[in-house]
Assembly symmetry: C2
Amino acid sequence: MKIENVKLYNSKYAPNARRVRMFLAEKGLETPMIDVDLAKLEQKTPAFSSLNPFQGVPTLEFDDGSTLCESVAICRYFEELYPQPPLFGLGARERAEVEMWQRRAELYLFFPVAQAYRHTHPAAKVLETPQIGDWAEVNKGRALENLARFDRALEGRPFLAGERFSIADITGLCALDFLRPARIALPEGLEHVKRWKDALSARPSAAA
Amino acid sequence: MKIENVKLYNSKYAPNARRVRMFLAEKGLETPMIDVDLAKLEQKTPAFSSLNPFQGVPTLEFDDGSTLCESVAICRYFEELYPQPPLFGLGARERAEVEMWQRRAELYLFFPVAQAYRHTHPAAKVLETPQIGDWAEVNKGRALENLARFDRALEGRPFLAGERFSIADITGLCALDFLRPARIALPEGLEHVKRWKDALSARPSAAA
């Protein structure tokens, strides 16, 4: 279904933007998109800063000129309007479990991987000044330690929050696919993480 | 109202635990609490790790031995069961706005303030090894830059997400009150942030 009263400011390379693209794909929704060139710091121009003073993508602009920012907030807006399939869970306990796993995927995987990338990769120098090598190393270690925790949690369940695919898995896959630019190798032996990653990567939404 | 089928693992000094305590106070809810001594690393013991493998407070334990972790996930659970007063917003757009502001308060204020604390304060050495002074400085700068953005956003509205107090304000106050241990002075001239902080601090929940 095409949604025409909004525009999504997007970057093909930004994992936070990919989270929203995957979410929309899982819902069967499409919005007009406008590409923002992060390498050219288009997100820091006065024009873009007036849309989002925190200068990031994704940013959703409505036809009335108002905006909604932050990947998970944009996803929640579409969840509220188009509740099928449920990607934030159903019922009090499952909704809370999805929130827990979405936050764990973000705080303990997505963020340390992103920090390792931003503080080492030459292409990230423009985004992260100064790059601090010691901080990259700390985060690489945390990402690896937490991957082992995710592996134990995924034993015996198909998805992070249980039987149902959710936004937590979207955050998880975006983090796993960001290991490569962060130059972190997925360790051998994490069989549950590997099975989960393969299953998520096989969904059509992974190409979004 | 007392909730008896759960226990909340808590630390008086942990700002993430305070977020849940304030949320419960705003809802008029009370739960049994168990104190975890973070300075003694009780959160890293095998017993506690079996409750929460990511080793943090707050952690909610149910009578059946299952657990729910992450401050915002615990808050969402109580919101679903006890929806009055609404602290995550009502309706699609407002719920999304609350999510956006809760995330902005967390990502752009709470986190940089916490990083500045963890990477400078002698008492945080046990939690953050190695402490990286350069990273503390970067985060101090970001916290100050973002405080100015929050000040502009709060012009003409009582609360972060608009007319209604929400979980975003709870995260915001916990971040502001963490400026002192992080040794960051709230700059002069941020009149909207100051008015907002004074109003939040005057609510009974601020003492929770």
